[in-house]
């Protein structure tokens, strides 16, 4: 499967996650960012917000990164939410649409958090069926992001990266490889981050996420929390280099959601990602 960015996309430049407090400055400055990514859920209500995004869409390639589909829900996909996502995607014509390999809702109740699945054959069947349905309704392949995890289940019968690779094989979806999530999960669950990268099917990776995380101490032991509230740390930049070596120059994106700094800080992080992407050790895609 080939994941094609829309005309005008600049896959060799890093993008940033667009958050509302930066919107006005971005509109007035129009900095040279490769592309923008937003959570579609933030644009499913107020018409003014979607209209502002539509205007920005003329100047920047746009990616819709969903957090509300709950692809791993055993009771299926919320039809209303999927219809809203389709309407937004039809209107904004994003270069990429992505979601998470996780679940958030069950029986009409929503946690608004991304909870990992047990990596079992049953869960694989459920999420593959849901991804198939979403791709069919949207009329396009989507990227699936590996979650950041604080727990794993005894019931799992395969590693997470194998589960994700099998999801790709069954549905034709792509992968949004969040290297910070891999670092966080590897620490919290005792996994090998580089082995994780080696297991993913390189041709399916269509995007890389970069972000900061927090360190929480619980009874003297450290749990990493994926709060998107600080700069990317060096071990995650190292993992990013490994990811580029393995996957080539796929589009990267800086995520920042909590303790949002000035726009220039995000642009600075994106410039760092660009410098690494353009370094001579990275092989061509």
């Amino acid at each position: 499967m080939t994941l094609v960015l829309s005309p005008g996309a600049q896959p060799h430049r890093c993008g940033i996650g667009l958050r509302t407090p930066h919107m006005a400055e971005l509109v007035s400055r129009r900095p040279p960012i490769g592309w923008l990514e937003v959570h579609p859920e933030n644009y499913m209500g107020a018409p003014a917000a979607a209209a502002a995004l539509e205007r920005l869409r003329n100047d920047y390639p746009l990616s819709l990164h969903g957090v509300g589909l709950s692809l791993g829900s055993a009771d299926g996909i919320d039809a209303t939410h999927l219809a809203r996502l389709k309407a937004l995607a039809d209107r904004l014509q994003p270069c990429l649409v992505s979601e998470h390999m996780s679940w958030s809702g069950h029986g009409g109740a929503w946690l608004n958090d991304l909870v990992p699945l047990p990596y079992t054959e049953e869960a694989l069947n459920v999420i593959a069926r849901n991804v198939d349905h979403v791709q069919s309704v949207l009329g396009r392949p989507i990227l699936i992001e590996n979650p950041s995890s604080y727990l794993s289940y005894r019931a799992s019968t395969m590693p997470e990266a194998v589960f994700l690779a099998e999801l790709v094989r069954r549905t034709g979806c792509g992968i949004l490889c969040d290297v910070n999530n891999i670092h966080v999960s590897a620490h919290n669950l005792g996994l090998d981050a580089r082995e994780y990268l080696r297991t993913l099917p390189a041709a399916a990776v269509g995007e890389i996420h970069l972000a900061g995380h927090a360190r929480n101490e619980i009874d003297g032991k450290v749990m990493l929390i994926d709060d998107h509230g600080s700069r990317v740390i060096d071990p995650v930049w190292d993992l990013y280099r490994h990811a580029l070596d393995r996957f080539g120059t796929v589009p990267a994106m800086i995520e920042w959601d909590t303790a949002l700094p000035a726009l220039d800080v995000l642009l600075d992080e994106a410039a760092l990602a660009n410098a690494i992407m353009e370094a001579p050790h990275v092989r061509a895609a």
Binding site: M44, G45, A109, W110, P118, Y153, G190
Partner: protein, 261 residues
């Protein structure tokens, strides 16, 4: 029942209750207890939903102060997880919750402030619908007569307290010193060019529009209005509706005016 369905049901129950015993055998410890690992998801959920409610209800939050607000919404969240994935749709029942929440009994106006803030949120997030043309409106009024039902681009709320003044005084950071006054107000809330308009209406105008906004027929709405204001002028009221570009839809199932049948 499938193992995944059972796991997701148990997990949701643990997030709500904080009791994780049902998950102890399902989760690998690896240096932490299952409870410690599940607690991170519980914290994430409560922090996200608390922030969402603070965004939707800034005046309520300021009136009771942030620490008490966090305490109250923790109770609300545990009893009312979102039923939709979008956060702007979360919190519709918060005013009703506050009305029955004993610790805020000394703030009798608080549920109505919450109702106003929810109306503001709903108006801001409502889909954009173009107003009906004067010609369409006139034609439909002739065709359906008293059976006409209109969709209006506004929300209507009444309170025994000056909740609009309380809301205005408490939604920003500035100190205003305004104190709640017990005086009935009838409000119309709608999206305006630069935000949200909250304005007071007289009894007759508010009663007619409130009844229409509830989906009642023009005949029923006019009857209810006349019972409040004997000198009510329906023709002028309809002209005002059209002038203010409030009607945005002709609602279905309207009866046909027998005079025009």
């Amino acid at each position: 029942m499938s193992a995944l369905l059972e796991l997701q049901r148990s997990f949701l129950g643990s997030i709500v209750s904080g009791e994780t015993a049902a998950l102890d055998d399902a989760i690998i410890g690896g240096g932490f207890t299952a409870a410690q690992r599940v607690q991170i998801y519980r914290n994430n959920t409560f922090i996200t939903l608390t922030e969402a409610l603070a965004t939707t209800y800034p005046a309520v939050c300021r009136l009771v102060d942030r620490r008490f607000f966090n305490f109250a919404v923790a109770r609300y969240i545990a009893e009312n997880l979102p039923d939709r994935p979008c956060l702007f749709e979360y919190g519709a029942g918060f005013a009703g919750f506050l009305a029955g929440f004993a610790p805020v009994a000394d703030y009798p106006f608080l549920p109505d402030v919450a109702r106003l803030e929810w109306a503001v949120n709903a108006a801001w997030n409502a889909p954009e619908r173009p107003p009906l043309s004067a010609e369409t409106l006139a034609a439909e009024a002739t065709r359906a007569g008293e059976g006409l039902r209109l969709g209006l681009d506004a929300l209507y709320l009444s309170s025994g307290w000056e909740v609009d003044a309380i809301w205005l005084a408490n939604r920003g950071e500035a100190e205003t010193g305004a104190s709640p006054a017990y005086q009935p107000v009838r409000l119309e809330i709608r999206r305006a060019a630069n935000g949200i308009s909250v304005r007071r209406l007289d009894v007759a105008t508010w009663t007619l529009r409130d009844h229409l906004a509830r989906g009642e027929t023009l005949g029923h709405a006019a009857e209810a209005t006349l019972s409040q204001a004997a000198d009510f002028d329906l023709t002028a009221a309809l002209r005002a509706l059209a002038f203010e570009r409030l009607p945005v839809a002709i609602l279905p199932n309207q009866g046909v005016n027998p005079c025009n049948a």
